[in-house]
């Protein structure tokens, strides 16, 4: 595949330097710079002493200065609590999806039972429901049961997410049925077949699912901001938003907090890029 594309590229556009080729590369590089610039600027500001962030012309390159981070930890005392909350919430949601999306994906892909297709389309149809529609009822429940500031109030609704079921069904459909049959003949129970055969074979799809779910909920803001009221129970996005109101003109501090919150996802992406893009594409594959 790689070879044929390369050959094809060679044939279509010989490596002669032509005006369209130059323009094409200029466009690609320029858009890359535009794409990455806001992130670059965030890091520059995070490493610039805050008094230097408000001057004209601005410094275009980062200083090697950690004073913003020192102030962040001294003044935004809950920062590590936000970090921990984000980790707990995101893991709580991701773990659920890894197990239960694979279970239902397996059932939808391989099991035969009356109503299977109807149930599958009922689940897929929830794609149509804007998450904002369920906010008011869920918020009323959270209020009445006094679940405000409880991490469960964020974790539990995160379990209703259709992407993983779809992804796992797509993937498990491609696994050979003979393996399950062999397990059945060897006297393996149905949960055993799932646990010992389906789950291990689904590793590549599970990786994409884990990464996609993790990022999706690590970055979630609207619902957490509604139910996490006190600073110690914030998640990182809610906390970063609060930095902006609390330290309005201390741009160094605000961006130290933002950069640190963004860093795990950036590293995560650089390490597992393939799976990320796999997940994006899987969302587009038809059922």
């Amino acid at each position: 595949m790689a070879l044929s594309v390369a050959q094809n590229a060679g044939r279509q556009a010989p490596s002669r330097v032509t005006a369209p080729r130059i323009l094409m590369w200029v466009a690609l590089i320029l858009t890359t710079l535009i794409s990455l610039f806001p992130m670059y600027w965030m890091f520059v500001t995070a490493f610039t002493p805050t008094q230097d962030t408000i001057k004209t012309p601005p410094d275009l390159f980062p200083h090697a200065d950690l004073s913003n981070f020192e102030r962040l930890f001294a003044q935004a005392r809950d920062y590590w609590a936000w970090f921990a909350n984000s980790v707990i919430i995101t893991l709580g949601i991701t773990f659920f999806h890894l197990i239960f999306d694979t279970l239902s994906g397996y059932a939808f892909a391989k099991k035969r039972f009356p109503g299977r297709n109807i149930l599958f389309w009922v689940i897929i149809s929830t794609l149509m429901i804007p998450p904002q529609v369920t906010l008011v009822p869920l918020y009323i429940v959270v209020q009445n049961f006094n679940l405000r500031d409880s991490l469960w109030a964020v974790i539990l609704p995160g379990w209703a997410n259709v992407f993983g079921i779809f992804l796992m069904r797509q993937y498990i459909q491609t696994l050979p049925t003979e393996l399950e049959e062999a397990g059945r003949i060897d006297g393996c129970s149905e949960p055993g077949i799932f646990w010992r055969i389906i789950l291990p074979l689904s590793k590549p799809a599970l990786a994409a699912l884990a990464i996609f779910t993790f990022v999706r909920f690590w970055n979630d803001f609207l619902w957490p901001s509604m139910v996490l009221i006190k600073s110690p129970s914030y998640t990182l996005p809610v906390g970063v938003a609060s930095l902006q109101t609390e330290f309005s003109t201390d741009y160094g501090l605000i961006f130290a907090g933002s950069a640190l919150a963004a860093l795990p996802m950036i590293l995560f992406f650089l390490a597992f890029q393939k799976y990320f893009l796999e997940g994006v594409r899987a969302g587009a594959v038809k059922g």
Partner: protein, 312 residues
């Protein structure tokens, strides 16, 4: 007696008389396996949606209420605070039309530029475009707010270089919405590029070779081969971005926290305010139902797309 029962259970005759047992033995595990997911969807999606629909006809406030008020909430949704919700609808539609159009064209354009490149370069540029999309919308909005800062922002610094007067990007009610739109347009539609790229890479190469033999130029090939063959992906991406733009919230909420008059209100910021500033849950639900209807009408297209098995 006990003996006969035992033999009966195992005999085919007994199984015929016990269809439920037979049914469960044959299909039970399928239902067991989908049960946890269905519980989650039932409790956190289906019941809340139905409840939201009911509340939209009730005078529901924190701690009580619940009188039926007919369509009063829907009337209030549009008339409360001098009809700010109508303004919000208008703003959201403007935001959606401009950003979706821009996203589709930029996504198509960049994916088309990537198509002839080698795998190595495709991977590199896809990653460079996608990288910002892994950070939270909150952080992106905080950063754009800083870039837009009237006094110290980078954009006004650039304008200063060419001698232009500073622009009050986010504080001038006449242009605040345009600034927000600008920030979206300047954020590369990463998912769009990735999806278009995948679709274009799956077009069989001999189509292009055949066109080469007939002497078709690159533009002609793009128009007559590429575009028709990625039609279904294009439709999907349009729907994806349309729905996302109707649900725009973080961007607006973070970039102009207190709003610039009504000029930057969107559907979701309005719902948020109706809940948290006015405490009128019924009215907020009515507004959410309006969003629901808009999104569903677009999502039906997506749904049909999911059902169709059209492949190249």
């Amino acid at each position: 007696m006990a003996d006969t029962n035992l033999t009966q259970v195992n005999s085919p005759a007994a199984q015929r008389t016990n269809p439920l047992v037979l049914f469960l033995r044959k299909y039970g595990w399928g239902y067991v396996f989908v049960l946890p997911s269905f519980l989650a969807f039932g409790i956190f999606t289906f019941i809340p949606v139905i409840w939201a629909f009911i509340i939209s006809f009730q005078d529901f406030r924190p701690r009580g209420g619940g009188d039926w008020v007919g369509l009063q909430n829907y009337r209030d949704a549009f008339t409360t605070q001098n009809g700010v919700f109508l303004e919000a609808l208008k703003n959201t539609i403007i935001y959606a039309v401009v950003t979706v159009t821009a996203n589709i064209f930029i996504g198509l354009f960049l994916a088309s530029l990537l198509q002839p490149l080698s795998n190595k370069f495709q991977t590199f540029f896809r990653a460079a475009y996608y990288l910002p999309a892994v950070t939270s919308a909150v952080i992106i909005a905080v950063t754009w707010r800083w870039l837009f800062n009237t006094q110290w922002g980078f954009l006004n610094f650039l304008l200063g270089l060419i001698g232009a007067a500073p622009v009050r990007w986010l504080s001038d009610p006449d242009i605040a919405l345009q600034s927000i739109i600008l920030s979206t347009v300047f954020t590369i539609p990463a998912a769009g590029v990735v999806l278009f790229n995948a679709a274009m890479n799956s077009i069989p190469k001999d189509f292009y070779e055949a066109a080469d033999l007939e002497g078709a130029g690159p533009i002609r090939k793009w128009w007559s081969i590429t575009l028709p063959l990625i039609k279904s992906t294009t439709l999907y991406v349009v729907v994806l971005y349309t729905i996302a733009s109707f649900e725009v919230f973080e961007k607006v909420y973070i970039m102009v926290p207190s709003g610039v008059g009504n000029s930057t209100q969107t559907i979701v910021t309005q719902i948020y305010q109706t809940v948290f500033s006015q405490f009128r849950y019924g009215v907020a639900s009515a507004q959410a139902m309006v969003l629901f209807v808009i999104v569903v009408s677009f999502a039906v297209i997506q749904f049909r797309f999911f059902r169709s098995d059209v492949e190249y």
